[in-house]
C-alpha cells in the first residue's frame, strides 16, 4: 500500500520538522535570556534597577563554597583512578614514571572541568530550575513583575554572575584535588616522593593547559545557568511540572556540557 507508506513517511517528516522548530526556539530562548541577563548586569544601574551585590555573594556561597567538599572528594577519586589506569597501561612499556605527565594533563585539560560541570549541573542547575519553577507555579514570578522587579534581573543575573565566577574557581580547586589524588597513589605504588611529583607536574604543565580547562568551565557555567533558568521559567502544571523541569534541566545541561566539551576540545587543540 504505497499511499499508507507515504502517509507514514509524511508523519515522520512532520515530527522531525516540529522538533527542529522547537529546538531552534529553545536555543533562541537561551540566547535571549543570556543577552537580557548580561544587559541587566551591565546597564541595570543606569535604570536604577541594579543587580544586587549581596545576592551575587549569597549565590556564590551556595554554588561554590558549599560544593567544595563534594568537588574535592570526586576530583581526588578521579586523580587516583587516573593514576591507577595509567600506571597499569604504562607498565607495558616500562614507562610508569610518565604517569605524572599523564595525570597532570588529563586532569587539568579534561577531567577537572568536566567533573565540576557535571556536578554543578546536577547540584545547582537542578536547584535553579526547581526554584524558578516553584516560583512560577506559586505566582511569585508574577508577583515580582507587578512589583516592578524584573525576574531576570532579580533571579537570573546574580546566578549567572555567581556561576561565571565560581565554576572556574571550583575547576581550579578540582585541578588541585585531582593532582593530589594522583600524587598520593603514585607515591604508594611506585614510591615517587610528593615533592618530586609536584616538581615534575610543574615542569609538565603549561599555563595553557590549565587555561584550557578554565575556559571550558566558563562555557559550562553558561550552559548550566541558561538551561536551568529556562527550564524553570517554562514550568506549567504544578508540582509535576516542576519535577519534569528539574529532570529536564539536568539531562539537557549534562548532554550540552559533554557535547560542548567535545567541540571546544577539538578547536582548542588544533
Amino acid at each position: 500500500m504505497p499511499e499508507y507508506i507515504a502517509h507514514r513517511f509524511l508523519n515522520v517528516v512532520e515530527k522531525i520538522g516540529i522538533s527542529t522548530v522547537k529546538f531552534i526556539e529553545a536555543v533562541g530562548y537561551y540566547f535571549a535570556l543570556l543577552i537580557e541577563s548580561v544587559a541587566w548586569i551591565i546597564a541595570g544601574s543606569f535604570y536604577k534597577q541594579p543587580v544586587r551585590i549581596p545576592s551575587i555573594f549569597s549565590q556564590m556561597m551556595t554554588i561554590g563554597i558549599a560544593a567544595c567538599p563534594i568537588v574535592f572528594i570526586l576530583s581526588f577519586s578521579i586523580g587516583v583512578m587516573l593514576a591507577i589506569q595509567m600506571i597499569y597501561n604504562l607498565k607495558t612499556f616500562g614507562a610508569e614514571s610518565q604517569v605524572v605527565v599523564g595525570v597532570a594533563l588529563s586532569v587539568t585539560r579534561e577531567f577537572a572541568p568536566l567533573i565540576t560541570g557535571i556536578l554543578i549541573a546536577g547540584r545547582t542547575g537542578s536547584a535553579l530550575a526547581a526554584k524558578l519553577g516553584t516560583m512560577q507555579v506559586n505566582q511569585e514570578i508574577d508577583a515580582l513583575r507587578v512589583m516592578g522587579i524584573n525576574p531576570i534581573r532579580y533571579l537570573v543575573s546574580p546566578a549567572l554572575l555567581a556561576m561565571l565566577i565560581m565554576v572556574p574557581a571550583l575547576t581550579f580547586f578540582s585541578d588541585i584535588a585531582g593532582l593530589l589524588g594522583g600524587a598520593l597513589y603514585t607515591g604508594i605504588e611506585i614510591g615517587l616522593s610528593f615533592s618530586a611529583y609536584i616538581d615534575r607536574t610543574m615542569a609538565a604543565l603549561m599555563v595553557g593547559d590549565v587555561m584550557q580547562g578554565l575556559f571550558k568551565s566558563l562555557v559550562f557555567a553558561l550552559i548550566i545557568t541558561l538551561v536551568g533558568a529556562s527550564s524553570g521559567f517554562s514550568v506549567t502544571g504544578g508540582a509535576e511540572g516542576v519535577g519534569k523541569a528539574t529532570t529536564r534541566s539536568v539531562v539537557l545541561s549534562i548532554s550540552f556540557i559533554v557535547i560542548a566539551d567535545m567541540i571546544f576540545t577539538y578547536f582548542l587543540n588544533r
Partner: protein, 266 residues
Amino acid sequence: MEENKKNIAIEVKDLVTHYGPRKILDGINLTVKEGEIMIIMGGSGSGKSTLLRYLLGLGIPTSGSIKLLGEDITNLSANEMFELRKNMGVAFQGGALLSSMTIGENVQLPLREHTNLDEKTMDIMARMKLEVVNLGGFEKLMPSELSGGMIKRAAVARAIVMDPKLMFFDEPSAGLDPVVSAELDELILRLRDVMNMTIVVVTHELDSAFKIADRITVLDRGHILMSDTVEEIKNSDNERIQSLLNRTPSNEVINADEYLSRLTGM
C-alpha cells in the same frame, strides 16, 4: 452628582484577548473611578482572572487599550511601565510571598528595590504595614509558618508598602473561613477609606462582593453582562446574572446536531 466629578483611574476600551487560538475576552469596556471599589464577578471560565492579568500588564492583548491612571499600558515603554508599577499593588490568590524570605523581608522587598531608605526606616515601615493588616510581631516568621489567611494579609501588607494608588485583589476570600474572609473585607474597606485607594477585586463570593462593592461588573464567557451598582445588579432581570446570584445551575438548551457531532468527534 459628585460621583461624576471624580477622575477615572482605570479605563479599558474594546479589549480583546486570545489564549492560543481561543478567544477569552471579547470587547471588554470598563471604567473604574478614583477611590471606587469595583468587583469583577463571574463563574469559573468567565475570563475574570484573565481580565485581571491584562489589567496588571502581564499579557499583551490582541486589540484594545487599557489605561491605568491615565496611561495606556498597552504601549508604554519598559521604563514608563516600571514607574507606573510603583503605583500598583497586587494581592494574589495564594499570596505569592517569596518563600525564601521572612514575612518582614517580603514586605520590605519593594522598598529595598525601589527606594534608597536606610535599613531602620524600612524596618519601621514594614512593621507599620504589618500592623495595618493585624500581623504585628510576625515579621521574623517564614511564609510556610503562617496560615492561609495570614499569608493573604501579609501579601496585602507587601502590596501597600509603597502606598499605591491602585490596588488589585485576586479572589481574596477563596479558601478562607467566613470569619477570616469577613476580616479581609473589612481590611479592603479600610484601605479605601483611609488611604483613598482605587480597588479592583476579582471574586465569585457573593456575600463579600455585595458587602464591599461600590459597583459590580459581571463577566460571562468573555463578555461584560452588566457593570453597575449593587442594587441594580440585584434587580437585574438578565437570566445569566440571576442564575449566578441564585446559584441555580445554568440549563443550556442542547443543540442535538452539535451535541452528536461533539460526541462522535466528526
